[in-house]
């Protein structure tokens, strides 16, 4: 049961084989047993979880089941929730209690979901390994000496070790897809503008997007169908986004007629040989399912990381200027004057990586450098978008590795920020272009999971879901579970 998919739990609830309270208790017990090892959750309120589950069982009995009735979903510490603290895993937001729920949290509640708690993350979502969290690193269930990826590392580890059947993450440069890949689960980053950002603590507003992290493709569709949709409270949430039949898209069992673009720039030196072999084997499988593989080129791929590390820090330095210790957040003791209060509070509150990004951004936006850095990066961003538009004239979808490497050891890259940045090389371009992307498990390298990334045209999450469902149906990777956390079946569930 713990390693069941969300949809399987839903069926059991619908058939009255279990109750929301039983399900909630099962996962609370698992969290109590395993969280100390993993540090996946930074906040749990068991009483509140059970109260929600009880209310859900009552709602089901009285009014019938809503879309996510009684299903446990954990959320990254970046989502504002009225219950419990929202700290973005930063000391500057220590003990911050949000006065309102994020729009997606409201949507989950309205759909009957049981919110399990807050998951660990890189501070302000700035990181690829979950090591910049003010609450300590999170560990990868497949090998607890390794990182779970980031920044949504807590959500990934929690789903991977079945401390929750599903979780929400956010993805600014790969922060859903990369940890999903490194922990052997499925992660979907919707099209920019598909999901409201209101109440999600901002990192880089033109790139941030929330999405699900789950055991199966259908589970990702179930959650996205609930959290997506226009919100007048977020000016970048798109009002006329094409509606999709999210669940029907997951019924696909073959890839007949599907043209899959394989960009040569994503299969280059520096990638782990077994990652490459796994992804190539996955592509062969797609061919066997009826797809046609088409060699394509995305010529500006090599510029994506550079453009991203101008644009994201620039937006971050502007967004994080709100932490002035006046309206909320940490304030230093006995400030001498206003300037001392700002500078010392921010020094004490922000960790090293957040400072690096704020300073990079402040520099890129500073007088005399704006054109050379920010403007230039936004022009290169247009070129990267154009690469995808051109490619999609000829193919339906693009397939790549999600990450060039598997999970690395804790501490291995913390002294070398630039090398850490380069680990997001395959995910970043998707955010720059505002496209939907999905990572799903497609194999192992030295007993660590490998992810396959799908990229579709804007608003075509249905194409992602169909391809990923067909692949999932033909393979068994999504059923693998980390042995140390699967007492019953020891690895298979």
């Amino acid at each position: 049961m713990p390693f069941s998919s969300l949809s399987h739990i839903q069926t059991r609830l619908d058939n009255a084989e279990t109750t929301a309270v039983e399900v909630a208790q099962l996962y609370l017990d698992r969290i109590a047993t395993h969280n100390e090892t993993l540090n996946a959750f930074v906040y749990i309120d068991a009483e509140h979880v059970l109260a929600q589950a009880e209310a859900s069982d009552k709602h089901r009995a009285k009014h019938g089941a809503r879309a996510l009735e009684g299903l446990p979903i954990a959320v990254k510490d970046i989502f504002c929730t009225q219950n419990g603290p929202t700290q973005c895993c930063s000391n500057i937001l220590k003990d911050f209690h949000a006065p309102y729920d994020a729009h997606v949290i409201t949507k989950l509640k309205e759909a009957g979901a049981v919110l399990v708690g807050k998951t660990n993350m890189d501070e302000f979502a700035m990181g690829s390994s979950n090591e910049t969290s003010a609450f300590g690193p999170c560990r990868n269930p497949w090998n607890t000496d390794t990182i779970p990826g980031g920044s949504s590392g807590g959500s990934a580890a929690a789903v991977s070790a079945a401390l929750t059947p599903a979780a929400l993450g956010t993805d600014t440069g790969g922060s859903i897809r990369q940890p999903a890949s490194l922990t052997g689960i499925t992660g979907l980053k919707p099209t920019y503008g598909r999901v409201s950002r209101r109440g999600i603590i901002a990192f880089a507003s033109s790139l941030d997007q929330a999405g699900p992290m789950t055991r199966t493709v259908k589970d990702a569709a179930m959650i996205t169908s609930v959290i997506s949709g226009h919100d007048s409270g977020d000016a970048t949430s798109v009002a006329d986004a094409p509606e999709l039949d999210w669940l029907a898209a997951c019924d696909k069992t073959d890839m007949k007629g599907l043209r899959i673009g394989v960009p040569k720039e994503y299969f280059v030196e520096g990638m782990d040989a077994e990652v490459r072999a796994s992804v190539e084997a996955a592509l062969k499988q797609c061919e066997a399912l009826g797809a046609e593989l088409v060699d394509i080129s995305l010529p500006n791929t090599k510029l994506a990381v550079a453009a991203y590390y101008v644009i994201a820090p620039s937006e971050a330095s502007a967004n994080l200027s709100r932490y002035d210790s006046v309206r909320f957040g940490h304030r230093c003791d006995n400030p001498e004057d206003l300037l001392d209060m700002y500078t010392r509070s921010r020094d004490e509150g922000f960790g090293a990586e957040v400072k690096r990004r704020i300073l990079t951004g402040a520099f890129a936006l500073s007088s005399g450098y704006y054109d050379a850095y920010y403007l230039k990066a936004q022009q290169v961003r247009t070129m990267i978008q154009q690469d995808f538009l051109t490619a999609f004239e000829n193919v339906d979808i693009i397939a790549t590795p999600t990450s060039p490497i598997t999970a690395f050891k804790l501490g291995e890259k913390t002294d070398d920020p630039l090398t850490m940045y380069l680990s997001d090389i395959y995910t970043i371009a998707v955010n720059l272009a505002g496209l939907p992307g999905l990572s799903q498990p497609c194999g192992f390298s030295a007993d660590l999971p490998v992810g396959l990334q799908w990229i579709a045209p804007a608003w075509r999450e249905d194409v992602l879901l169909s391809a990923a469902s067909a692949y999932e149906g033909a393979t068994d990777w999504h059923n693998k579970s980390p042995k140390a956390f699967d007492e019953v079946s020891g690895g298979e569930s």
Partner: protein, 92 residues
């Protein structure tokens, strides 16, 4: 080009002690050195991205949409008094 870390830190209103500045300088220079590859790209005539889908900024009617939630919103402030935010003295 070498970045003046203390100057940028002041722009960003972050105090850095000398040790931090000494550690950050080579890291920031390495990051900026990497992004400098953008300078070699010919971007003549390329429109900079403003929104990933080129969407226009929506307008809404100029009406109050939220109620008075002062107490809830100020409950999270470090220091308030009589509904005001308290900060160190600004004017001598």
């Amino acid at each position: 080009m070498d970045i003046d870390v203390q100057k940028v830190a002041m722009l960003a209103r972050i105090r850095l002690n000398d040790d931090e500045a000494t550690e950050l300088a080579p890291q920031l220079n390495e990051i900026l050195g990497y992004v400098d590859q953008l300078a070699a790209v010919n971007t003549d005539g390329i429109t900079p991205t403003a929104h990933p889908h080129d969407a226009a900024m929506p307008l809404r009617a100029n009406v109050v949409t939220n109620g008075n939630r002062r107490d809830a919103l100020q409950a999270v402030a470090p220091k308030t008094e009589s509904g005001l935010y308290v900060v160190p003295k600004v004017i001598e």
